[in-house]
């Protein structure tokens, strides 16, 4: 699970959160990339990537 989360995190966009005011973001949908990453690591389809 740790390896999966590391690889999923690598797909994410770097963000710096500060306490002053809300941060507005627009992110691309990485569903396909995340599913592909999970499949490479043997996570079956339909299984939550963040179940613990």
């Amino acid at each position: 699970m740790q390896k999966l989360w590391n690889e999923l995190a690598a797909l994410g966009e770097p963000v710096t959160v500060q306490s002053a005011g809300p941060l507005e973001l627009t992110l691309p949908d990485k569903t396909i990339d995340a599913d592909r990453t999970a499949a490479k690591l043997g996570v079956p389809p339909g299984r939550g990537l963040f179940d613990w």
């Binding site: 740790q2 797909l11 306490s19 939550g48």
Partner: protein
């Protein structure tokens, strides 16, 4: 404002005082077989929101039974008045087909895609602080932030509240990848 307190034997008393003050935003999360953590936002003395994070350090120091806490040998409390907020819009992936609800689920929300955003701390694993074997207990030293959706269901705005300032990786994916299809 950061205060960082390590409480050992007095954790039981502290928790009994703190838990009733939690608002509806507070939730307990099951992290693995026996450990738990409490994270939430409470109102400070001046009315400003304060992020409260209780993290168990022992293997089995804390149990919840409908709000009643049994034992706590060692508990780490982190209180911060500084927190951030993210408002996120997800750009749809043009390569994904539009969801087509089945006849029996035309009115069911589950037939539609549900974009969500997860925040990963960056760097994700800080082993020198937790000093825990990562493969055995890595979720106890890591908390991910999940978004909640509001607004137009077909084009929702995703929001993540009470995020401690710092560096993160933000990943947008569609359900059921977030929580599974249970």
């Amino acid at each position: 404002m950061h205060a960082y307190v390590l409480i050992r034997s007095v954790a039981v008393v502290s928790l009994l005082v703190l838990v009733p003050t939690f608002g509806t935003n507070t939730r307990a999360q099951r992290k693995n077989k026996a450990t738990a953590e409490i994270f939430g936002v409470v109102k400070g003395a001046d009315g400003a929101p304060v992020v409260l994070h209780l993290l168990a350090l022992d293997d089995n120091p804390l149990r919840y039974y409908g709000g009643y806490e049994e034992t706590a040998a060692k508990l780490e409390i982190e209180v911060s008045g500084d927190s951030g907020q993210l408002n996120v819009r997800v750009l749809p992936d043009a390569s994904l087909p539009m969801a087509e609800p089945s006849v029996s689920e035309t009115c069911s929300k589950s037939a539609y895609p549900e974009p969500a955003v997860v925040l990963f701390p960056d760097p994700m694993f800080v082993q020198e602080i937790a000093n825990v074997e990562p493969e055995l207990d890595f979720t106890a030293q890591l908390r991910l932030f999940h978004s909640t959706a509001f607004g137009d269901r077909n084009n929702p705005t995703l929001q993540i509240l009470a995020v401690p300032p710092g560096h993160y990786r933000a990943l947008a994916i569609q359900g059921p990848g977030i929580r599974g299809s249970r």
